[in-house]
Structure formats: C-alpha cells, structure tokens
C-alpha cells in the first residue's frame, strides 16, 4: 500500500517538474520556434523569476531583502514583469544581432544576471541562497498539497499552450515565422522586424521567469547552484529540439519526455547490483558509477531522436493558409 502510494507521489512529482520545464520550453519555443531568436540565457531569466517571487512572498528575514509578504499571484506577476523589463532593455540593444551573435550576447547577459544575484548579498543572501520559500497550497494536508500544486502547474501549461497555439495560427504568428525564415522578405513586406522580434523575446523571457517562480516554490530553497546553466539552459534546449521546435505540442512533449527519462533512469540504475562482473572484469561501486551512466544515456537518447526524427519528434506543421475559411482566403500575415 505504502509502495503504491509512493509511486503515486513520484508520478505527481514527475508531472509537476515536467510541467515546470514545459513552461520553460514553451517560452523558448516562442523565441526560437516562432521568431528564430537563439536565447542561450534561459538560466538568467529563470533565476530572476525565482528570486523575485521568493523575496516578495517570504516573511521578513534578516539575511536578505524581504518582508513584503505578498500573495502568490501578484508576486509572480511582478516577477514576470521584472524579467520582461530586463528582456526589453537587453532586446533594445541586442535584438538586431543575427542568431549566433544573439546567442553569444545572451550567454553573457545570463551570466551577468546570475553574478548580480549572487553578489548582491543584501538582497539575495548571496551564495547562501534563500530558504523557506512559501509554496502555493502547502497548507493543505498531504497529498492534496502536492496534487494542488501539480494542478496549478499543469493548468498554467495548458493556458500557455492554448494561447501559443492561437498565436501560432494568428497573423502575428505568421509574421514571426516569416521573420524567422526570411528577415529581408518580411521587411520588404513592410513588417517592423525589430518590434516583432522584441515582442517574442520579452514574452518568452517572462514565461521563463514564470517557470523559475514555480521552481523556486517547488524546491523551497533557491541559490546560485539552482540556476546552473547545464540543468536549465542546456536541458531546456535539448527538450525543445528533441520534442520538436516550432511545434507547441512538441515543446510540451519534449519537456515531459526528457524529464521522465532524466529522472526515471535513476530508478533503473538503482536496480543494478552493487558489483557487476562483465567478461570476467569486476566493476565495483556500480550505483556511484551509474550516476554518470545516466548523463551518457541522455546524450544517447538525444542522438537517437535526432537521427530518427531530424526535426524533433513532432516536427513543425504550418497552419494551412487556405484551410479554415477557404472562402475568405486571407494571405499570410496580411493583418500583422
């Protein structure tokens, strides 16, 4: 009984964390899949979202800024606005850069954000991080607190997904893909390319802050180690590329699939015996070595997926131009 209850709790945690990563991949999809912006600074916006929410919702603490005790929803809204403002300021300067230069700029900016958050000790408690972050619904009895938090995350994913699907089919989305595919052509058609790209960058970054805000609540502690680029920026890119960029369903699928593999492989490697004898060679400390095997497995999965599905598991599908209201026959991007 306990065992099955445990599996249930673990399944909830998989869906919760997978959902938080789905918010991040959807944000990246808006930037990369829609507008072709190579943002390599996801970790920075993720950290901003987590820190701002934590500071605004926590009771007074001597180690860092706080004591505002804001309710959850306005705090998250402020966190998203802060991230959007930062993205807007960065975007004003860098958005004209072509994709690879933008990538370099965003790596640098994300590291600057992370260093500021690490060094402004008066606000963030510096390298020692913020502890006891309030989590939504934690006052409910076990397991309802976990279920409610999972529901909150999944509903958020659904809302963002539906909104992005609508955006994808809208003239706005069509302008985005037009800019992605041929900036010059879009410009020739009279579109304000910089303005559109800036919109995608700002909105995507705000979504990344939302992902960070939830993640900070989920782990209840957030410090500089929490926004390590390898487990945020890199993993989110892998999720989007494997799932299928420029496809919102692919982005969500990639997040849940990769997180399940990432987390679930540890259970599989846990079944391995303490020592294995392979072709007469004894391998000791298997459980410790297996931790590295997991990282190798992730690489292998990515290779297989990319070899088998070169455009991701769910590749991009263009909304049919004449599909829905055939009589009106609008041209792509006419109203954008």
């Amino acid at each position: 009984m306990d065992q099955f209850y445990g599996y249930g709790i673990y399944a909830i945690s998989l869906l919760t964390v997978g959902g938080m990563y789905a918010i991040l991949t959807l944000g990246l999809n808006l930037q990369w899949g829609f507008a072709g912006l190579f943002n390599a600074g996801i970790a920075g916006f993720f950290a901003v979202g987590a820190y701002v929410t934590a500071i605004l919702t926590k009771p007074e603490a001597p180690e860092h800024l706080g004591g505002y005790g804001l309710p959850m929803a306005p705090a998250i809204a402020v966190a998203m606005l802060v991230a959007a403002a930062i993205a807007w300021a960065i975007g004003r300067i860098c958005i004209r850069l072509r994709s690879d230069y933008l990538a370099i700029a965003t790596i640098g900016i994300a590291e600057i954000l992370r260093l500021i958050l690490k060094n402004e000790t008066w606000a963030t408690n510096g390298p020692r991080g913020i502890s006891s972050i309030p989590r939504a619904f934690e006052y409910l009895p076990d397991p309802w607190d976990k279920l409610a938090f999972m529901a909150l995350v999944l509903v958020t994913v659904l809302v963002i997904y539906l909104a992005l699907e609508k955006a994808w089919r809208s003239p706005w989305g069509r302008v985005m893909t037009a800019i992605r595919d041929s900036e010059d052509a879009a410009r020739a058609a009279g579109k304000d390319v910089e303005s559109f790209r800036l919109q995608a960058f700002v909105l995507g970054s705000a979504l990344m802050a939302l992902g960070g805000a939830y993640y900070g609540q989920y782990t209840k502690y957030f410090g500089p180690d929490s926004s390590d680029p390898a487990s945020v920026t890199f993993l989110v890119w892998v999720m989007l590329i494997a799932g299928g960029s420029a496809n919102n369903r692919g982005a969500v699928l990639g997040a849940f699939l990769l997180w399940t593999i990432w987390s679930g492989t540890q259970i599989v490697t846990g079944w391995l015996p303490r020592e294995i004898s392979l072709f007469g060679v004894a391998i000791p400390d298997v459980p410790v070595r297996a931790a590295y095997l997991r990282i190798f497995l992730i690489g292998l999965v990515l290779q297989v997926v990319l070899q088998r599905y070169s455009k991701g598991i769910l590749p991009e599908t263009r909304p049919a131009v004449l599909g829905r209201r055939i009589t009106r026959g609008p041209e792509p991007g006419r109203q954008g």
Binding site: D2, Q3, Y5, G6, Y7, I9, Y10, S13, V17, E63, L115, K118, N119, T121, G126, P127, R128, G129, S131, S132, D142, D145, Y215, Y218, T219, K220, Y221, F222, G223, P224, D225, S226, D228, S231, S263, Q266, I267, G270, W271, L272, P273, I276, D285, P287, V288, A290, A291, Y292, R294, I295
Partner: protein
C-alpha cells in the same frame, strides 16, 4: 539480442532476490562540482554498512542494510528529485546526506520534512540548517561553520593579532565561514580592517590584494579553496609585500599549497580544519577499520562513516523499519547515558540493544552528542607547516 535480454533479466533477478533488507537512502553529490570528494565519502558510508552486515545485520532475523544511492549533484533541483525517489519509490527508512548545504536545505524542506523522514548529513555545514524548522528530522554529523569561525577567531586573538584583513571566495561554504568568523572576531574585541569578497578561478588577485593591503592589518585571513583562488591570493600578497602572516580554514589545507608557495612563505601560516581528536579510542578504532579506504581521513570521510553507522544503530534501536521512530532512537543511541560503542562495534551494540540497555556511540569525529537543533559540537585541529614541508596538526582546545 535475446541473449543480452536474458542476461539482463538474470542480473535484475539476482539484484531483487535475496534476504530481507532494510533500505537506507544514500544521497550525495555523486556528479557535479564536488564529485571527487563525494566518491571518497561514499566509501566511508559503504564501509559502515559492510560492518553492520558482517556482524549480524539488523534486527533479530539479520536483515541486510542496503544503501540506495541518489545523486543530488550539489544542485537543489537534483537533490529534490533524488530525495523524492528515495522517499517514495525506494521507501527508504532514513537518508544519509546530502552533501552540499543548498542541496540539503532544498531536499529537507521540499521532501523529507513533510514526509517525516530523518536526514543526517555528514558534510553540510551551513548555519542556516540550524535555524530550519525541521520537526527534529534534520541532523548533522559535521559541525556548523559557526563553530569553526569561533575557533579560528579565538586562536588568532590568542596569538596577539588584533587587526586582520579578510577575504573569502564567493561560494556558499567560504562566504558562510567568513561571515561567522567576522562576527566572532569582532565580538571578541578584534578588528576587521578590510573585507574583500573574490570570485574563484581568476588568473590573479592583484586588485583584491591591493585593497586588502591598503588596510595595513597585522595578518590576512583567507577563506577559499586552495586550487581555485587560495594559493593565488597568498602568492599575490607575498609578491606585493602586503602580508606575510596568513590564517585560513580547511579549504586551504593541501600539500599543493606548500609545493607551490614554499615552506618559508608559510612559516607564519595556520589553518583550522574540522578534525578528530586522534587520542581517543574511537578515533584509533576507526583508523584500524578504515585502513583499506583510499583516504580514511579525507574530507568528511570519518563523518560519513559515523553518520551511516549511527543511522543503522538508530534503526536497530527503533526495532523496525518505521520512519517515525528513527529521530527519537537516533538521539538515544548518540547521546549519554549508556554504554560506549566505538566504530565497528556492531555486534556489541546489537546485543546491548537486545537486552534493552542504553548505548552511546562515540565516533571517530567526536562524541556526536546532538544538541536541540540536531547539530554536533565541533572539534578542530590547527594545521601549521613544519620546516620539512609537511602539515602538522594539533588539537585546538
């Protein structure tokens, strides 16, 4: 292909079959920034589990103690995920670890405290863990940084040095240590003339050293890891003639320090480390048992042994693999009164518990008498460099 599958199935079958077992979570930063240190720690944990299993296992029917490894990667996100699996999927009785303070804070608050599972970390030293509202479920077998800061501050003042310049690497361990040191040093009447935080892994630290040198203090206190910034800072301070007297803590104690800087440069240097009193019977017993380990006295390796052995004793004392009884049992077996149990004395402890007698484990690292917050008092040694280029350690009283 079929043969491989069959072989795989056979491996799984042998892994799951066998005698009844009690699962203890073994959470640690197996991958990540401190992987090398954790590999040594894991050996300490395994050694303790082996001693339990070789001397009759757990409970009357001799169940095996199995350590289930979870990788916390020194990352709060990974620690929460790994702890969720240990608590829910593997249904462990209690958890040893995790290692880093951030990972410990996240795993404890997000997973183990709500689930009512005891965690005992052998290396998380952040003072923030003391203040945690933990329902008596979070314990440590390593002293809080607060104690090491006080020990070093008292030693420096005892040497007649009243004014120091202070620098620390900007990571959670060294920043925490520096904050606790500064508090203790000033409270005891000392003066911090300058405090400069530095980022590790820079090519040189002349700018930082110039600021610190301008303060004209009597000595420089460096909290850093020797490789990533400690050696470079001392070298820059010597080059510019800013300081010739240095103090620091365990991150600096490594032979590489002497190899690169030379004995003369370090003749006035002294570093504290959380150490063991090597005159106790418990320490000698541990050294005898641990002589096959790669580094029996590696960082926190004796603590790892003590933590695992203590949790095993607590499970035996609780009489069943019931999570809710572990915290109370842990306090009973770790603190007086009771007959003293030394490292490795599992059979003796088991017999005493069966008779209903109290026991009191004395570990290699000290008495391990938990205070109200689940912390242990610190024992520190002072390390100085001898003329032949070795570190000599003596116990700080």
């Amino acid at each position: 292909m079929r043969r491989i599958l069959l072989a795989g199935a056979a491996v799984l079958a042998t892994a799951t079959a066998g005698t009844a077992e009690v699962k203890l979570g073994s959470l640690g930063g197996v991958t990540g920034p401190i992987a090398e240190i954790v590999a040594l720690l894991m050996e300490g944990r395994e050694l303790a589990a082996r001693h339990v299993n070789e001397q009759g296992g757990l409970f009357a029917d001799g169940q095996q103690l199995t350590l289930v490894v979870g990788d916390s990667a020194c990352d709060p996100k990974a620690a929460v995920d790994a702890a969720t699996k240990l608590v829910n999927v593997d249904q462990v009785v209690a958890i040893v670890g995790p290692n880093c303070s951030g990972a410990t804070l996240a795993a404890a608050q997000s997973v183990t405290i709500p689930a009512g599972v005891v965690i005992l970390s052998e290396s998380a030293t952040s003072p923030a863990i003391t203040a945690l509202d933990d329902k008596d479920l979070v314990f440590r077998a390593a002293p809080s940084d607060a104690y090491q800061g006080i020990a070093l501050a008292n030693y420096i003042l005892g040497q007649g040095v009243k004014t120091v310049a202070l620098t620390n690497a900007n990571d959670d361990y060294n920043a925490g240590l520096a904050a606790e040191f500064a508090k203790a040093f000033e409270a005891a009447g000392g003066k911090i003339a300058a405090h400069q935080v530095h980022e590790p892994n820079k090519a040189n630290y002349r700018a930082e050293v110039a600021t610190l040198g301008g303060a004209k203090a009597d000595a420089l206190v460096v909290f850093a890891y020797y490789g990533s910034s400690g050696i470079a800072i001392i070298r820059n301070a010597l080059e510019t003639g800013a300081y010739s007297k240095f103090f620091g803590a365990d991150g600096m104690v490594n032979d590489e320090l002497v190899n690169q800087l030379g004995v003369d440069a370090l003749k006035d240097a002294a570093f504290t480390t959380p150490g063991a009193d090597d005159s106790t019977g418990a320490f000698k017993a541990y050294m005898e048992l641990a002589k096959d380990l790669k580094q029996p006295l590696g960082p926190y390796v004796p603590n790892a042994y003590d933590a695992t052995f203590l949790l095993a004793l607590a499970i035996e004392k609780a009489g069943s693999a019931d999570r809710s009884k572990i915290a109370a049992a842990l306090r009973e077996v770790a603190t007086p009164p009771g007959e003293v149990i030394l490292p490795g004395e599992w059979a003796k402890a088991k017999a005493l518990i069966a008779e209903g007698k109290d026991i009191n484990y004395e570990g290699a690292t000290g008495s391990l008498d938990f205070d109200a917050a689940g912390d242990v008092p610190g024992t520190y040694t002072l390390n100085t460099v001898t003329p032949d280029g070795k570190f000599a350690a003596k116990l700080l009283k």
